[in-house]
Amino acid sequence: MRRTHIHHFLFAFLISAIVFIAAPAQTQNGNSTAAAKSHASAPLKLTLPMKDGSVKFAVIGDTGSGTEQQREVGDMMIKYHSLFPFEFVLMMGDNLYGGEAPADFEKKFSAPYKALLDQKVKFYATLGNHDQALQVNYTNFNMDGKEYYKFKKGNIAFYSLNSNYMETKQVKWLEDELGRETAEWKVMFFHHPPYSSAKKHGSDGQLREVVEPIFLKYGVNVVLSGHDHVYERIKPQKGIYYFVSGAGGKLRTGDIDGRSGLTEKSYDRDMHFMLFEVAGNEMYFQAISRTGETIDSGVITRK
């Protein structure tokens, strides 16, 4: 009799352990929130300070699926735009999956973000491993016909790199440009993440080997990337803040490996986008799920 009870207890323990291990990673620091399949919207809540004269922008990554969920992220962005009128959007690559005919541009970009485009919000794209080279000529991606380029807004210099093909010419261009950079904030955005806890791809070590020394040498502050279809804020690495924002149109549920030791905060239960506000030496950020819940927020202070 006693043995049967022990068996029952062990069986229940085993089942609980399996359920616990198989469950998708929760956001770190105890803030587990939105459910992926819920379509109900949370009340809009802005954590950004909305300071006068600040630079306001949004970030989306791995968007070009043309799915209903991508459109829902676009819809949530326009709702937040009414509260926080961001001027432009950075795209982390994989802008168009599986084909680039005119109909694909419409279904996977122009239609989901129509309301933002109508309000003259500019999109700045970078190329991912699913993007063809000629996207650089697409007027709404504002890439100036180049695979790597930079632009300035206020006291911030934004650098878009082609991490899929980091040839010597590009590395030299990056060094030359950073060498004469006068902007206070230096923000990089490109597709492959130098640091990531996702199980599918994870940290891109060979890319990091090349770009990280340059970032350190020239005082880069923030690095934004996609590729892994999750949200992750990495613990600052050698003083640089890294974000993975690769779930604007595709999601890999439960892909975060909580044992990586890299994660400051993560979210892999629904798609998301990010908002940023830069005022002086402070950069505020807010990550928002497809259903409108705040999944992360904070401030980075430039030293």
Partner: protein
Amino acid sequence: MMKKKRYVFLWLLVCTLIWGSSVALAQKTQNAALAEPVVVSPADKAAIESFEKQVKGYIALRNKVRENAPKLSKESTPEQIHAYRTALELSLRNARPNAKRGEFFQPTTADFIRRTLKTEFQGKDRQELREQIFETETQGVVVRVNYPYAQSAELSEMPATLLAKLPQLPKELRYRFVGRNMLLVDRESDVIIDFMPDALP
């Protein structure tokens, strides 16, 4: 007091050494990425020159062909991009009707590249890179000279350290992996110009 000063001095020395070695390491890695292609022998040099000559010939042909394609600005519509790509692809394929494998990757060039790849992919830390290339979703790609790379397929990430060691290409051309094959591809039209089978060790 003296003891305290000595302790502070030692602490500063340790910090300086750590900082110095990290800067040196960073510099070394960066230089490795920016290094010129490694030419190990006069024969390799001749092979690279022969490859570059072939590439120059292709670019001349391409420039001529491109004159007939519709113009493309940096503010193009999807329709203009599509028209340009289609016209360029067709013109390039028609301009090289007898294109064969090995025209660019001639035996001596191929030998140099194979050795470079073997060196680059040596070691445990490069295993991850190899796996990454093999994981690239390239279903639908027909690896055939003068055929376009399937638009729906993923592109393999080309390692920066490898690109620094391979013969340098003009902006119109790209190296690309499909499984163990290494391709030479026209950047804008995605036409496969040449390929080396089983190039990756």
